[in-house]
């Protein structure tokens, strides 16, 4: 019984903005199925009452003073940007329905 087939891989691919052709999707479905089969062993482990590890090595919340400072990173980044109009980055027009998700 496979956990994940081509259609599911394609759905996940859309979520991740990856375009996969049919053979790629099939191969990935096989790989992911094998991996998920392996990680499924965690399900057998009793973790009732175990708090998920929230910090790796516990430390207090670091906070930053509200002091504004300018950065000089933008010039070199804009200069090499894939596409721009003046000082704005430029992308193809955003269509209805392309928002979010």
């Amino acid at each position: 019984m496979s956990r994940i087939g081509r259609a599911e891989v394609e759905r996940i691919g859309r979520l991740a903005r990856l375009r996969l052709d049919a053979s790629e999707a099939d191969a990935l479905a096989r790989d992911l199925d094998a991996i998920l089969g392996y990680v499924d062993q965690l399900a057998a482990l009793d973790t009732a009452g175990v708090a998920a590890a929230s910090t790796v090595v516990p430390i207090a919340t670091p906070l930053r003073a509200d002091e504004p400072a300018r950065s000089d990173a933008r010039e070199p980044v804009l200069a090499r940007a894939p596409d721009r109009e003046g000082d704005a980055f430029l992308v193809p027009p955003v269509l209805e329905g392309e928002e979010e998700g």
Binding site: D31, V56, A73
Partner: protein
């Protein structure tokens, strides 16, 4: 190259005695790279003019007043996922073609302030996802011990650069063993610090809760010197440990007496890998016993779940960390995209290699609605159990001793068709990342003519003890001095 390999410590002595200049060291590094690189392919780029200029500055500095640090005037290499201002930061990926970082990683800023000279950027598995340095857009790095074999990964380039004697010190990153396993495969020493000890600011994130920058060098002493330069709290990294770090070099007193070494039975099982590897590791344990350490069997009962836990947590975090690579603001954008969706999909699909795509998909899946609790949340719970395993074990010992990898370097191309098999080679290293504890690998012998790595793991924040044990081991043995034939 005849004679003992140069170490940072020995070069420091030579530099301070004016027996050699920083310029000469950089010239040697560049010459050695020129000779070996066509075959070795450890580097993705070099910066000869800048390095020579900086060497001259270091020499002037040394003449004027003495070294700024143990690394002053020493040529080093950094992995291609560590940012340096004005230099490309490609992570061995197509998607970052053309990207030049406008800022220094904090670790790099500290290295430069200390006088270290970055001569080049080393090859790696794309975005640090891999254990063989075969998943690079530039092609694989070859193991100096056997060019048909992998140097390990993902910091394979850094390990090879040190093993081949191009530089005495290189920096890599370790998320699930990416410093330690290549160190083992290439016969050098490599250390992953306690999580948070070295700033991650400027390290291109793979799995944020697991990544750390660390050194690869010939000796534990060199690693300790390097860690002392790059460690310490960084206000730009919210996961950076707040307290001043312990001094690593000072911990190296050559003594193993009084220290208790735990041998986790789950890591030393007879069916756990190549018996020759296991034998070399067991002999190393006995060597440390002769040096005064006592051995004790311990158990890390959740070890068998470590790889699964790792691959769930790491890929989930990675799927999110790599979302910023979209062709919009920097890097490579697919040409002629007419809609935004097309821009995203083609830039990312053309820009990322197969292994990266695989992990992004897996990570997206385990975070997605309906699967989050069963996979990601569950994995984080198991992670807490793994951390408890370590804490319990460390109540009865000062450090753990294990093999670094279940095998010696495998052949190039042998594992690439089977991702799961590739993942399983991380079985001994991933737990230290999941628990955040310091761990290192030192060469402890040869099996089938190839280096075997011994792993030493310490308590969180106690980076000194594994280094001390490694150093004590290296004072009594000569495995770290072995060099592959291309050096001889």
């Amino acid at each position: 190259m005849a004679g003992a390999p140069a170490t940072v410590a020995s070069l420091r002595t030579a530099l301070d005695a004016r027996a050699v200049s920083a310029r000469e060291l950089v010239e040697r590094a560049l010459a050695r790279a020129a000779a070996l690189e066509p075959r070795l392919h450890a580097f993705v780029s070099m910066r000869p003019e800048a390095a020579l200029r900086e060497a001259d500055e270091a020499d002037a500095h040394l003449r004027a007043g003495g070294p700024r640090s143990a690394l002053d005037g020493i040529p080093v290499a950094i992995k291609d996922n560590i940012a340096q201002a004005g230099e490309p930061c490609g992570c061995a990926s197509r998607i970052l073609e053309g990207y030049v970082s406008p800022f220094d990683a904090t670790a790099v800023a500290r290295l430069r302030a200390a006088g270290a000279i970055v001569v080049g950027r080393t090859n790696m598995d794309e975005f640090a996802m891999g254990s063989s340095t075969e998943h690079s857009t530039h092609g694989p790095t070859r193991n100096p011990w056997d060019p048909a074999r992998s140097p390990g990964g993902s910091s394979g380039g850094s390990a090879a650069a040190v093993a081949a004697g191009v530089v005495p010190l290189a920096f890599g990153s370790d998320t699930g063993g990416s410093i330690r396993q290549p160190a083992a495969f290439a016969g050098v020493t490599g250390a992953k610090p306690t999580y948070g000890r070295v700033s991650r600011y400027g390290l291109v994130a793979f799995a944020s809760s697991l990544d750390q920058i660390g050194p690869l060098a010939r000796t534990a002493e060199d690693c300790a010197l390097a860690l002392d330069v790059v460690s310490g709290h960084d206000p730009r990294d919210s996961t950076s440990l707040p307290e001043p770090p312990t001094r690593c070099r000072e911990a190296l007193d050559g003594r193993a007496a009084g220290l208790v070494l735990g041998l986790p039975r789950e890591y030393l099982a007879a069916d756990g890998g190549d018996p020759a590897v296991l034998r070399a590791v067991e002999e190393a344990a006995r060597e440390l016993e002769k040096a005064g350490a006592s051995l004790r069997e311990v158990s890390l009962p959740h070890t068998r779940y470590a790889v699964a836990t790792y691959y769930l947590v790491a890929t989930a975090e990675a799927s999110s960390n790599l979302a910023r690579f979209d062709g919009v603001r920097y890097g490579r954008r697919a040409s002629g995209a007419r809609t935004l969706t097309e821009l995203y999909e083609r830039s990312r699909s053309e820009g990322f290699g197969a292994e990266v795509k695989r992990r992004i998909l897996l990570g997206t899946y385990v975070l997605s609605a309906g699967y989050y609790d069963a996979y990601y949340r569950k994995a984080q719970q198991v992670r807490a159990l793994l951390r408890r395993d370590f804490e319990a074990a460390f109540e009865g010992c000062d450090a753990l001793l294990t093999p670094t990898a279940p095998e010696v370097a495998f052949a190039l191309g042998e594992r690439t068709a089977d991702p799961l098999r590739m993942y399983l080679s991380d079985v001994y290293t991933v737990s230290a990342n999941l628990a955040g504890v310091p761990a290192l690998s030192v060469p402890c012998g040869l099996a089938h003519g190839l280096p075997v790595g011994l792993q030493l793991v310490g308590r969180a924040r106690d980076d000194g003890t594994p280094l001390r044990l490694a150093d004590a081991f290296q004072r009594r043995t000569g495995f770290h001095l072995l060099q592959p034939e291309l050096c001889a």
